[in-house]
């Protein structure tokens, strides 16, 4: 979030008690001047919520060629998993048509994690399957990438698989994982940064 310009000395040096005696209008104006930013301070395109709040990591060819995924890691440790830009499924004509969470031993969209302690969460290995993404001719398995508990899958993908085509990097995320204690440190160096991934895939 952008740093705001310091409020005017005038406004701050007036003790609060005195402010109460000024008219409602003055108070509104004071507030207004505090709220409005200086347009010169505003960036043309601000960073996205993902850029601000997460560190992005990428993995290319995860277990199979062309299976590129991203891991957005929040400061609180949670990881959002999804399909990276150059994932094969996203490059096919027609794109993704079906997303099915019923893979492995259970339907991932049926899980019910409860409470602060996140009970009933399925424990996944990094190669555990999250879902199967199908295109016109092919299907691809999306995997966990990080060992930990599965907190949530994006069940919107079931009814709106097109989210993967329009915004795989945001609303089309696949799942949220809570890595097992100590797991992240072990694995983070095996991931690529955004720049490294872009260079690897020759993207713009």
């Amino acid at each position: 979030m952008a740093e705001n310009a310091e409020p005017s000395e005038e406004t701050l040096n007036k003790p609060i008690q005195e402010n109460k005696r000024t008219t409602e209008e003055e108070k509104r104006q004071d507030l207004s001047s505090l709220l409005l930013p200086n347009p010169k301070d505003l960036p043309q395109i601000p960073p996205t919520a993902v850029e601000t709040n997460f560190s992005s990591y990428f993995v290319a060819d995860f277990m199979k060629p062309g299976h590129d995924q991203y891991i957005y890691r929040h400061a609180n440790g949670l990881c959002v998993i999804g399909l990276a830009r150059a994932h094969l499924a996203l490059t096919e004509t027609g794109g993704v048509t079906v997303v099915d969470f019923n893979v492995g031993k259970s339907d991932r969209s049926e899980l019910k994690v409860t409470g602060k302690r996140k009970r009933n969460a399925l424990q996944f290995e990094s190669n555990s399957a999250l879902c199967k993404v199908s295109t016109n001719g092919n299907s691809y398995i999306v995997r966990c990438c990080v060992k930990g508990s599965l907190l949530e899958v994006n069940d919107r993908l079931i009814k709106q698989p097109d989210l993967l085509n329009s915004s795989a990097d945001r609303e089309g995320y696949v799942a949220i994982i809570m890595p097992k204690q100590g797991e992240w440190l072990k694995i983070k160096d095996s991931f690529l940064s955004y720049e490294e991934y872009v260079q690897l895939r020759g993207l713009s």
Binding site: M1, A2, E3, N4, P7, L12, P15, I16, Q17, N19, K20, L31, L34, L35, L36, P37, P39, K40, L42, I45, P46, P47, T48, A49, V50, N53, H74, N76, G77, L78, V80, V113, T114, G115, K116, K118, L151, E152, N154, R156, L163, R170, E171, Y173, I176, M178
Partner: protein, 486 residues
């Protein structure tokens, strides 16, 4: 008793007892709930026999009170017949079975009472040269007494406590091992508890010792305890501790900085942010009040990077063992210290001393309170007039928010339904894709997520309503409504 008033000894006794009695209005209240005068004396800790020996008519008592008081609260209540606490025991009123055995008769005076008892002794033709009295009352009287004391504790006891703790280690150790031995041997007899190993507690609480003593019968007691108790060569040790019950200072705070957390936030020995609202206000209050510590309570909270503007957020500082009861000037001093500090990080207003009920006032309805915000929003295409009318026309919009990812690690994964009451748009001159979004929402709404959508987990969101991408650059709280703190 003469109709001219209470007997002279009683009158003198009453004058001596006057300082012990509770305030007039409290006495009136007690009398109106059916408590007799003697029970009021008992409650006040008046033990002068003269107060109890002569009968005291209620109207004379009231007259005496009015004579000796500035405020003349005239009350009219029907004369009570039986006390709700002692059930007549202290008023020499009781029912006794007639000699004939058929009906019950009421005794109303001390003399009649004494006669009744002496009659029983004479009837049996006892030869006596003295007597000792045993009195057994129904347990409900003990319960009534407790109720009376609990009811009166507020009006009778002061918030400033002086605690005198006497201890005598030498004899207490002996008693403790004695009592525990007795308790453990009983357990072994009954077969409950562990066999063999007696729990060696070095410091049993007083309460558990009293409990254990209660369980020991008189006979048992005499075999184990030295009767009479032995001589001691050292007196008790005394520790005096003074303590005041917490005082509360209420007010509203403003947070001007985007680098100040609300409460003290330290991770791995490092402080997050420059300072905390809690400490900036609490330390200043503590310094003036000279207390042992403080607790900061507020009506909700805002993120470290969100400013609190407008009228401010209601808060309470609970000062523990405050050495003073701050006066108006001292409270002004606290406000000045905070508002005129070098770094204008935080400000306070409406500071005042309040009672303990303030805590409930703040919590009560916290979930219903509406809050107003101003968010600086960027969208991925220029803002149109349609966008503005679209957003401003939405009233009481239902929003469904899954627990935001940024707090999902410590909160339950739930889907919460919140209401956005209204929205207003303010253009930012010189830009086409930025605007100031003013909104009023239900308490507990996550504003940042309502703007950027939290990867679609909050819907609808500004982005979904306008059909483009929306980002939030900064957020300010502009109003928290709570009348009590105005």
């Amino acid at each position: 008793m003469t109709s001219s008033g209470p007997a002279p000894e009683l009158k003198t006794a009453l004058i001596k007892a006057k300082p012990f009695l509770p305030p007039c209005h409290v006495i009136h209240h007690l009398l109106s709930t059916g408590v007799c005068i003697r029970c009021i004396f008992r409650l006040s800790g008046i033990h002068d026999r003269d107060c109890y020996t002569s009968p005291l008519d209620q109207s004379h008592f009231m007259f005496f009170l009015e004579e000796h008081n500035d405020n003349d609260i005239k009350s009219n209540f029907t004369t009570i017949t039986y006390c709700s606490i002692c059930l007549g025991v202290l008023c020499s009123v009781c029912c006794v079975q007639e000699k004939t055995g058929a009906a019950f008769k009421e005794i109303t005076s001390v003399n009649d009472f004494v006669l009744f008892i002496s009659d029983i002794i004479k009837r049996e033709e006892y030869q006596i040269d003295g007597f000792s009295l045993e009195v057994s009352v129904p347990p409900v009287i003990v319960a009534n007494d407790r109720a009376l004391r609990l009811q009166s504790v507020e009006s009778l006891s002061s918030p400033f406590h002086i605690r005198l703790t006497y201890s005598h280690s030498e004899t207490s150790q002996k008693l403790q091992s004695l009592v525990l031995n007795c308790r453990d041997s009983k357990k072994r007899e009954r077969g409950s508890g562990e066999n063999g190993s007696s729990k060696k507690a070095s410091n049993e609480s007083d309460a558990s010792i009293y409990r254990a003593l209660d369980l020991i019968g008189d006979h048992d007691f005499c075999t184990r305890f030295l009767v009479p108790p032995g001589k001691v060569d050292k007196p008790c040790q005394l520790v005096v501790a003074c303590h005041r019950t917490p005082i509360y200072i209420a007010g509203r705070y403003l947070k001007y900085s985007r680098n100040v957390s609300q409460s003290r936030w330290i991770i791995d020995d490092e402080r997050m942010g420059e300072a905390s609202v809690e400490e900036l206000i609490g330390e200043n209050v503590l310094q003036i009040c000279r207390g042992d510590g403080y607790k900061f309570h507020s009506a909700g909270r805002e993120d470290i990077d969100v400013r609190m503007l407008g009228s401010g957020r209601p808060f309470l500082v609970e000062v523990l063992n405050s050495r003073i009861l701050p006066s108006y000037t001292e409270i002004e001093q606290i406000a000045d210290n905070i508002n005129n500090s070098d770094k204008k990080l935080v400000g306070v207003g409406n500071l005042k001393l309040v009672g303990a009920e303030a805590w409930n006032m703040m919590r009560e309805g916290e979930a219903e309170k509406q809050k107003e915000y101003a968010a600086l929003v960027w969208i991925s295409r220029p803002l149109t007039d349609d966008d503005v009318s679209n957003l401003t026309s939405l009233k009481d919009l239902d929003v469904s928010q899954k627990t935001p990812i940024r707090v999902l690690h410590r909160r339950s994964p739930l889907e919460r339904s919140k209401i956005i009451h209204w929205m207003k748009i303010e253009n930012v001159e010189g830009t086409t894709q930025y605007f100031l979004l003013h909104l009023c929402t239900q308490a507990g709404t996550y504003i940042k997520e309502f703007v950027h959508g939290d990867l679609g987990r909050t819907h609808p969101s500004i982005g979904s309503i306008l059909g483009c991408r929306a980002e939030i650059l900064q957020l300010d709280v502009t109003d928290v409504k709570m009348d009590y703190f105005d």
